[in-house]
């Protein structure tokens, strides 16, 4: 046994060394942008040609970007784009100390964590004011079945004065939300949607198409025709993320940008860095498009470590990326999926109890961070942790800034 093991060890090590050694004299000329692997075959499940792309929604969201929202400009979480108000007089109820019930999909990513803190701080304000007595929360940890039973439990308990749902997935949660509506309690849905309009209000920023298109348009504007772009996506099959890519794909397909790869990263920094490094080995990358900013810094570092010039970069309003952007001085944009939307459902509940009208579809503004306001956001969030989102909209809440810095 012993000689075999020694031999094995020797051969394996030798093989490895040989592999590394025999490559030094490999031909240095290399085909420009390897044709076979680099040209990504567009999978039909995603992108502008897939069932995720709805032209009508795309056109509407792109148009909404230019609409001046109604409401106070210094409180974007109360603004609404093209609102159609519904009367809530029949849902109004006397007195304070309400029980507010919230079924949360999860706090499994930094974006949701940031929003969740903001929401709790808003609740504190209303508790002080005596509007809310109890804030009852169930966290489904990204499990559809758990969230369905969470909502059922709220309905069965019968003492929720309003039910807020942040659905984990669209189709699966629809019946549960419908059941909640039937209980007669006001239902508020935010972030991801459901396939029903039974709730009093559905709160969300403009949406995924606008998000995806903003980044893609930025790349098209800032890159020469024929430039190469690598698209980094988190996961397939989640509607908000599919819409982002579908819109970007649409924009790219109508331009002279060459998309050399579409990769799924799971938001994992190590995987992002590895993927970008591999693409850089095959050819130059002029631009990076990301469907969410998680791990954007790892992608930037891949360029640094490969000794390549910085790409034109589409990231998010996550602090780690904004800081890296500032340090490197690269051409970039910080996309925004308005994190301040987490405040809105609480305030919507207050309005509904007071019998004030609310928009049936409450579309919040969604504006990217651009070079001109980068310094302002960096300064405002100087003490915030790196996985904090610049447009969290909680600066005027009493817990600011400790609630967000000491998380």
């Amino acid at each position: 046994m012993r000689p075999i093991r020694a031999l094995l060890a020797g051969t394996a090590t030798a093989g490895l060394l040989l592999l590394t050694a025999c490559t030094t004299d490999a031909p240095t000329e290399q085909p420009p942008a390897a044709e076979t692997s680099a040209t990504e075959e567009e999978p039909a499940e995603s992108g502008a040609e897939s069932e995720w792309f709805v032209q009508e929604d795309y056109d509407r969201e792109l148009a909404q970007r230019d609409v001046e929202p109604e409401g106070p400009a210094d409180q974007p979480w109360l603004q609404a784009i093209e609102p159609e108000y519904v009367d809530t007089a029949d849902l109004a109820s006397e007195g304070g100390d309400k029980t507010l019930c919230f079924s949360n999909a999860s706090v499994s990513n930094p974006w949701r964590v940031t929003g969740w803190i903001t929401m709790q701080q808003q609740v504190e304000v209303l508790k002080e004011e005596g509007v809310i007595g109890e804030f009852r929360v169930s966290d489904a940890a990204d499990d559809d079945n758990k969230q369905i039973s969470d909502i059922q439990a709220f309905v069965e308990a019968g003492d929720c004065d309003a039910i807020i749902v942040s659905p984990s997935t669209t189709a699966t949660l629809t019946p549960a939300v419908e059941a909640a509506c039937e209980s007669g309690k006001p239902v508020i849905v935010f972030d991801r949607g459901v396939n029903t309009d039974c709730m009093v209000t559905f709160i969300h920023p403009i949406g995924g198409y606008a998000y995806g298109a903003v980044g893609a348009e930025f790349l098209v504007e800032n890159l020469d025709p024929g430039s190469t772009v690598l698209a980094l996506r988190i996961l397939p099959g989640v509607d908000v993320l599919e819409h982002r890519w579908a819109a970007a794909d649409k924009v790219f397909s109508e331009s002279d940008i060459d998309v050399v790869g579409v990769e799924f990263t799971g938001g994992d920094g190590a995987k992002i860095k590895d993927l970008v490094t591999q693409h850089l080995q095959r050819g130059e990358i002029d631009g990076i498009w990301m469907d969410a900013g998680d791990g954007a810094v790892a992608a930037v570092e891949a360029f640094e470590d490969a000794g390549q010039p910085y790409p034109v970069f589409v990231g998010e309003d996550e602090m780690s990326f904004l800081r890296k952007w500032d340090e490197t001085g690269m051409t970039a944009i910080g996309n925004v999926y308005s994190n301040f939307q987490w405040r809105t459902p609480i305030l919507a509940a207050q309005k509904i109890w007071a019998g004030e009208e609310v928009p049936s579809e409450w579309v919040l503004p969604q504006e990217p961070v651009v070079q001109d306001d980068l310094a302002e956001f960096l300064e405002a969030n100087a003490d915030m942790p790196s996985l904090h989102y610049a447009k969290f909209g909680g600066e005027d809440l009493p817990g600011y800034p400790e609630a967000w810095t000491d998380r």
Partner: protein, 335 residues
């Protein structure tokens, strides 16, 4: 005449050697994974010749080093007849703890590293003692530890990590020498992995290594022979957690801190070890084969990228390859 004869003999021997080699390569176990690694690497180079350039290979080595280190740690535990499912969570916890405690402060790099070491050993000690003395199956112990670490970190950080790793902390995982970006460099991560493998090979040749394999093969017989099986296995868990800490330094250095760091690494490490022909349940397999298993797994991921395989199908392909490889390795030798 004589020359003819000797030629014939030489040919015969050559044929014999060739047959031996073919049998060895096809026999399953360690040799098969080496063959798999070579085949995958060759396919990658055929698809993308630039992969064979030294710069690209060193980038591959840098990426693969943490998994090699983890696989070596997992090897100690598996060969002794146990599992360690907690390493992925431990890597994640260590990176998050380090980022939060040092928050980019260079002066805190060494104290935090020392703390990580202590924390890693503590986790290993708990895993080991609960498994050996309380007789909780290691599958359950380390599954529990995985959840405890995952939950504790989420509780501590509120779900999202904060802080930053200092530049000097990141040197091992990110840099190499000479330190010129884009040029050929030998990554420090590769050196760390080589040192770890070298150390492990030596350790497995010492009485400790031999008793460890014996304990995995037949714990009762080993106990009768006078070796303290509980302490052998506890040390295996200590080594696993220690190496998970080393891997955490490399991974944190490589890509910085993200919320997902470490996720799923325990299964990759176990897969790497099993691909290397180390028998689950212990008692069989070599540490070098575990390393080759880790390299083969990383090479497979690289191949998937090069093929631009739709990510939706990757886990399925990965699963099939692993099952086939292990089934092939477990096949009885025809003799």
């Amino acid at each position: 005449m004589t020359t003819g004869l000797s030629q014939e003999t030489a040919q015969g021997t050559a044929r014999g050697t060739a047959r031996q080699w073919r049998e060895r390569l096809l026999s399953g176990g360690s040799w098969t994974v080496l063959a798999l690694l070579v085949v995958v690497l060759v396919v990658i180079v055929v698809i993308n010749p630039s992969f064979a350039e030294p710069v690209s290979l060193m980038a591959f080595a840098k990426k693969a080093a943490p998994l090699v280190v983890l696989a070596v740690g997992q090897y100690f535990v598996i060969v002794s007849g146990e599992f360690d499912l907690s390493v992925g969570s431990l890597v994640g916890a260590q990176v998050v703890i380090a980022a939060r405690l040092m928050d980019g402060d260079e002066a805190l790099t060494w104290p935090v590293l020392a703390l990580m070491l202590v924390f890693g050993l503590l986790v290993g000690l708990v895993n080991g003692l609960v498994t050996t003395l309380l007789r909780v199956p290691s599958f359950i112990t380390t599954l529990g530890m995985m959840l405890v670490l995952f939950g504790a970190i989420r509780l501590w950080t509120g779900g999202a990590p904060t802080g930053a790793l200092s530049e000097s902390f990141r040197v091992l995982g990110r840099k190499g020498f000479p330190d010129v970006p884009g040029q050929f460099q030998v990554p420090y991560a590769l050196l760390v992995a080589l040192v770890v493998v070298g150390f492990a090979v030596l350790l497995m040749r010492r009485p400790f290594g031999r008793s460890l394999v014996a304990a995995g093969d037949n714990a009762v017989a080993t106990a009768y022979s006078g070796a303290p099986v509980w302490w052998l296995r506890t040390r295996a868990f200590l080594l696993s957690s220690l190496l998970a800490t080393v891997a955490a330094v490399l991974i944190g250095g490589f890509a910085g801190v993200t919320a997902q760091v470490g996720q799923g690494l325990e299964f990759m490490a176990i897969t790497a070890v099993v691909l290397g022909g180390v028998a689950l349940g212990g008692g069989r397999g070599t540490v070098v084969a575990a390393m080759v298993g880790a390299l083969a797994l990383e090479a497979l991921f690289t191949l998937f990228n090069q093929l631009a395989l739709p990510s939706t199908i990757r886990p399925a392909v990965q699963g099939v390859i692993i099952i086939v490889a292990v089934a092939y390795a477990a096949r009885r030798r025809r003799t």
